[in-house]
């Protein structure tokens, strides 16, 4: 008798745990092998729970050494490389051709390695020592914005997701990401990668569900500092902008062709950074004494 395959229940990823949605709701997704996945239809409450853990993990994650964050991003790439075959199969089940699946997984891994390398470098490019006219030492440095709510690219299963998560977390932010609605399975498998990559719980939280339902909550939550939509949905983006004004969220519409190798760079990191300027007086005694 033929062996019966063990199928996976796809869950969501909040605070390092894999619960199903608290709402108990799901939406069916038919795979190429004709099996159906019952994907969690995440609720506002799931999002709010995720914001709580993302906020809780912000202080620890943002105060990690930049070098350490770089190592962790590199570790994600290592784990992903090791599970490449699984992702190839999953992408194919979502309708990718073999060639496109291979391209997407390889570019995703490379993008993680790319951003891992930026972890302790973008600060040096975007800081400044400011030559003020008074007797003060004055410098400006980037600091993470805080909790970022992200609606990932709908058209890709993995690459769009990684292309926003990587610059977001490498800069010390924490995030809640809504996966592609029609290609959600890879995002959850990627959560399994994150869970085994030394990424602290709560730094990345991944939900599956409906953008039409959730974009209002992603943009209106008062403890979210920035919101990103990677999709061109004029009416959603207007609502997102309006809701963002409730607590002056930073809004980014990153509708990019993530397959383009140029759609990466330190400016994706610094978009999600604040600039902090620090002043301190410089003593004036002994000015005339320097004669060497």
């Amino acid at each position: 008798m033929e062996r019966i395959e063990v199928l996976k229940t796809y869950k969501i990823f909040i605070g390092g745990q894999f619960p199903r949605t608290e709402s108990g709701r799901y939406y069916p997704l038919k795979l190429k092998n004709n099996m159906t996945v019952n994907v969690s239809l995440s609720s506002r409450k799931d999002f709010r729970n995720a914001v709580v853990v993302a906020r809780g993990s912000f202080s620890g994650w943002s105060s990690r050494a930049a070098f350490n964050r770089g190592q962790i991003l590199y570790r994600i790439a290592e784990m992903l490389e090791g599970r490449k075959e699984q992702f190839l199969e999953e992408l194919k089940q979502l309708g990718y051709t073999a060639a496109n699946a291979k391209k997407e997984i390889e570019l995703s891994i490379d993008r993680l390695v790319y951003y891992a390398g930026w972890a302790d470098k973008y600060q040096q490019l975007h800081s400044s020592v400011n030559p003020v006219a008074s007797s003060h030492f004055n410098f400006s440095v980037p600091e993470p914005m805080g909790v970022v709510a992200i609606m990932a690219d709908e058209s890709t299963a993995l690459l769009g997701l990684i292309s926003v998560i990587a610059p977001c977390i490498v800069g010390g932010n924490t995030c809640i990401v809504l996966a592609s609605e029609n290609k959600p399975t890879c995002a959850i498998t990627f959560a399994e990668v994150l869970a085994t990559s030394d990424v602290p719980a709560g730094v990345v939280n991944i939900l599956t569900g409906n953008r039409k339902e959730l974009h209002t909550h992603f943009s209106s939550h008062m403890d979210v500092n920035a919101v990103i939509n990677s999709n061109t949905e004029k009416n959603f983006n207007k609502t997102i902008g309006e809701n963002a004004s409730l607590n002056v969220k930073r809004v980014f519409i990153w509708n990019k062709n993530w397959n383009d190798e140029k759609e990466q760079g330190p400016y994706f990191i610094t978009d999600l950074q604040e600039i902090k300027t620090t002043w301190h007086p410089i003593e004036n005694i002994g000015v005339s004494g320097i004669k060497y």
Binding site: K238, T239, I240, G241, E242, E274, I275, W279, P281
Partner: protein, 489 residues
């Protein structure tokens, strides 16, 4: 047992200074100002004018045109034409030379501008003369130099101007805010429509005259005066590519909402409620000066004012006594007097708002302490005010008052003060006073605010980026980082 109040200073001796008023002979002001559009002063389509007054005397200075939607449309179209036909085509080094000229003209007319700034806004002449006007000139000078060097500012990118920038500024630093807005916009190749605050249009209109004198091509800078609807018309004009706003968080949120879903770029410089934190090892006398400069600079009409004071419990009695003593020596009154520390409140409306908050503070149970100074009968004045025994939940500890009112709390541990300092929707600035270097960096890293002053307060410079976290807005003004909001890549 009655607590004996220890006085460190004796106030019964004669502390009076002879009056030292700045002369107003040297200035030239017209009786009526029109809108500055396309290089000329034009009568408003609205046909309406309003009075601008001196808040220290409540006397009228001049009539100011009120721009309606049609006037704003004319100004934006002038800016658009100037952008398309002239400014975007001009070599950057030539663009720079106009901006340098404006800087020089402000320096040449610094005294006149200082006097007018004080007449129209109520700030002490000492501050207009030593801070506002020189910084405004320096800002133009600084950004002029950037105009032909933009490719060095953003590695691996190709910066391009945006088009027409609509800029709306507040009344607390009228000419300086105009400089903060106009200088980087011009240096990056954009054209401008600027709306000054309704109560303080005069130095901006003098700047319009300076711009005429500089020979800047017509329409590159346009200045439209008026009230809220004038600003709203500018925000919503379809040909405006970028909005830069400095003002209240309430209006900032309204602007962000208004332009949602459009391609307009936005920077917001909004309110604040800064923590000024004094540790027990701080140089106390300097810290007291810093507290005074933090909250009483410009009558407290400062978005980054150190309006929440946190004093470590072990030195609280000493700091507060010294602060009370220092309060007594502050000279409140005629802004035109060179000895004056605290001038007039900018408007009747703001005066009412501050007095309302003082009432709220008392009703919420905080202990009020005011200087025993007298304030002029005429004009808008408030005594410098301290509130002792306030708590985090008091409205005077949470909301921006924008006046010379300080809410004081004490703390014991670093964890406690970081928590309290950050537990507010604002994040514009903060101050830290301690002699311990490692503690300074611990604090400056943990405070969620855009500008941190350590062992100093309320310092500004054209090279130094300024701007907030959280509900204090986004984008930076000043320095290299201040170029970014006016460029696309």
């Amino acid at each position: 047992m009655a607590k004996k109040e220890k006085k460190n200073l004796e106030f019964f001796t004669d502390w009076k200074y002879a009056p030292a008023p700045e002369s107003t002979d040297h200035i030239s002001l017209k009786k009526q100002y029109d809108l500055f559009i396309n290089g000329k002063f034009l009568k408003p389509n609205s046909g309406k004018y309003y009075d601008t007054i001196n808040p220290a005397t409540e006397e009228k200075i001049a009539s100011i045109a009120e721009a309606n939607e049609k006037d704003v449309d004319t100004a934006v179209k002038a800016a658009k034409t100037a952008y398309d036909k002239t400014w975007s085509k001009m070599p950057a080094k030539e663009r720079a030379k106009y901006i340098f000229r404006i800087a020089r003209l402000i320096q040449e007319k610094a005294r006149e501008l200082s006097v007018i700034e004080t007449m129209n806004g109520g700030k002490a002449i000492r501050e207009s003369r030593d801070i506002d006007i020189p910084l405004a000139a320096n800002h133009f000078f600084y950004y002029a130099g950037w105009a032909d060097k933009l490719e060095y500012a953003f590695p691996n990118r190709n910066p391009k101007s945006l088009g027409v920038a609509g800029q709306i500024i507040p009344w607390n630093f009228p000419l300086l805010m105009a400089a903060w807005k106009i200088a980087p916009a011009l240096a990056t190749g954009n054209t401008v429509v600027l709306k000054p605050a309704e109560t303080t249009p005069l130095t901006c209109l003098k700047l319009a005259e300076i711009i005429q004198e500089s020979g800047l091509p017509d329409g590159v800078v346009n200045i439209v005066t008026g009230f809220g609807p004038t600003g709203a018309a500018l925000v919503n004009h379809p040909l405006v590519n970028k909005i830069a706003f400095t003002g209240s968080t309430g209006v900032g949120k309204w602007i962000q909402k208004s332009i949602a879903g459009t391609d307009k770029r936005l920077t917001l410089e909004l309110g604040g409620k800064a923590a000024n934190i004094i540790f027990e090892d701080a140089p106390i006398n300097q810290a007291v000066e810093g507290i005074v400069n933090g909250i009483f600079f410009n009558q407290g009409h400062v978005c980054c004012a150190g309006s929440r004071l946190f004093v470590q419990e072990s030195v609280a009695d000493e700091v507060i006594q010294k602060l009370k003593d220092r309060l007594e020596t502050l000279i409140v009154g005629d802004p035109m007097d060179k000895n004056t520390d605290i001038g007039a409140i900018n408007s009747k409306m703001q005066l009412n708002k501050i007095n309302e908050y003082i009432k709220i503070g008392i009703n919420d149970g905080a202990d009020m302490y005011q200087s025993s100074c007298s304030i002029p009968k005429k004009g808008f004045f408030v005594k410098p005010t301290l509130f002792l025994n306030t708590s985090q939940s008091h409205r005077i500890s949470q909301e921006e008052i924008f006046g010379p009112v300080l809410a004081i709390q004490t703390f014991r541990t670093i964890e406690e003060v970081i928590e309290k300092a950050n537990n507010i929707p604002y994040g514009l600035s903060a101050g830290v006073w301690t002699d311990k270097g490692s503690r300074i960096f611990n604090m400056t890293q943990k405070l969620r605010a855009g500008v941190i002053w350590a062992n100093t307060y309320n310092k500004f410079d054209p090279t130094s980026p300024f701007g907030g976290y959280k509900e204090s807005g986004f984008g930076r003004e000043g320095g290299l980082h201040g170029l970014m909001p006016y460029l696309k890549f």
